[in-house]
């Protein structure tokens, strides 16, 4: 049945070369843990991506209940965690995944660094990777405020104070991020929500696409 549907589409659109290009390539022996167990270090990049997918999916579902408003944010998080079926699981996935993605990304960075895999001709991919790192940190920061509890509020106040200490543009930068020169409030929450849910994921997807395109184009670095 599925084969027939596939053939019907393929006959008209010739989709086989499309997915072959993406998926049909051999994993070199030196990066395959089945051949050398130590090759598990090559898994961290893929694991980072895997957790990123979980973050995107669980985040999408969280927004079905979450409200980015100073009066209702905390209540909506409380409700989705305690009253909605599997709420604790879905929020837990997003909460723990946020930390885990940083860990995996860090291990991936260490592997690339210590294997020297960032060297010519792969410098550009290292730079894109560093940008992805910053985007991930920003995602962690903006997501931290959204539950709107005391910990979130004061962590954000500290971050904004740090931003304010940037020479020259500090105060303007803080106002731009917080939405108000003095208050961490309604406009800060909506801003962080918009940045967390639309702006940063869009940038992240673009950068990840570039990251993957480059690794396919250049191939994985050779054995040590």
């Amino acid at each position: 049945m599925i084969n027939k549907i596939y053939d019907w589409v393929d006959e008209r659109l010739d989709i086989t070369p499309l997915w072959r290009d993406i998926a049909d390539h051999e994993v070199p022996e030196h990066v395959n843990p089945a051949h050398h167990f130590s090759a598990f270090v090559y898994c961290f990049g893929g694991l980072t991506f895997f957790i990123t997918v979980i973050q995107i999916l669980s985040g999408m579902f969280l927004t079905m209940y979450y409200v980015p408003d100073i009066v209702n944010a905390w209540e909506s998080v409380y409700y989705l965690q305690n009253e909605v079926a599997f709420g604790q699981i879905v929020r837990g996935m997003h909460h723990w995944g946020a930390s885990l993605v940083i860990v995996m990304m860090f291990l991936h960075t260490l592997r690339v660094f210590f294997q020297g895999a960032y060297k010519k001709p792969r410098e550009l991919n290292w730079m894109v990777g560093v940008l992805i790192f910053f985007i991930m940190l920003a995602l962690g920061l903006t997501g931290y405020l959204l539950p709107w509890d005391m910990k979130a509020l004061f962590a954000t106040k500290v971050t904004l104070t740090i931003m304010e200490s940037v020479p020259l543009i500090g105060p303007a930068l803080k106002t731009l991020v917080a939405g108000d020169p003095t208050i961490v409030g309604a406009q800060t929450l909506t801003r962080f929500f918009a940045v967390h849910v639309f702006f940063l994921p869009a940038a992240l997807l673009g950068l990840i696409a570039a990251h993957f395109l480059m690794i396919r184009k250049q191939g994985i670095s050779g054995p040590l």
């Binding site: 100073i70 009066v71 004061f154 106040k157 500290v158 104070t161 303007a172 106002t175 731009l176 917080a178 939405g179 108000d180 020169p181 208050i183 409030g185 309604a186 406009q187 909506t190």
Partner: protein, 165 residues
């Protein structure tokens, strides 16, 4: 048409780039201005707020003065209560200090640390300030406490904008 400086292809390239750029700017400009509006909005003027403190009751000992004001946070208007530590200097000047620690924003209080009397003390990381709000060297704060602008009207203390010392 003696000198053909611009070819038909060039002309079309220029006009298309120009029109395209104009259209892109027309799309992006409103969005950018929308996003940076808080930065460009004029800051709230230094309105003075009346406290319940009578200036004649102030002494050389800092006292905690709470005062309420209406705060506009976007589409929310709420009544907020702020605090100041106020005292009179020997030459009669009123000093009103913000209680917000210059280290990480906790709340300082007067004379609450038994080992260091007559100082402002922050319980979070043991930051200390002398009576005039200057941070004690060797404690976490990196700057003196902010000062309130003060005003006296009908014997009542008014507090205004915060001024960094």
């Amino acid at each position: 048409m003696s000198k053909q400086n611009v070819t038909r292809r060039q002309f079309l390239n220029y006009t298309l780039t120009g029109v395209g750029g104009f259209m892109a700017a027309g799309m992006i400009m409103p969005m950018v201005r929308f996003a940076i509006d808080p930065v460009l909005k004029a800051e709230a003027s230094g309105d003075f707020v009346a406290t319940k403190m009578k200036v004649s009751e102030l002494t050389g000992e800092p006292v905690r003065v709470d005062y309420s004001f209406d705060q506009k946070d976007g589409w929310y208007e709420t009544s907020q209560t702020n605090t100041a530590w106020v005292y009179k200097t020997d030459d009669g000047k009123i000093v009103a200090l913000s209680p917000i620690c210059k280290h990480l924003g906790c709340t300082v209080a007067w004379n609450t640390d038994k080992e260091n009397p007559n100082q402002f003390f922050c319980p979070c990381h043991y930051g200390r300030y002398t009576k005039d709000g200057v941070n004690v060297k060797g404690t976490p704060p990196i700057a003196p406490l902010d000062l309130y602008a003060t005003k006296e009207k009908d014997g009542i203390l008014y507090l205004g904008q915060l001024i960094p010392q």
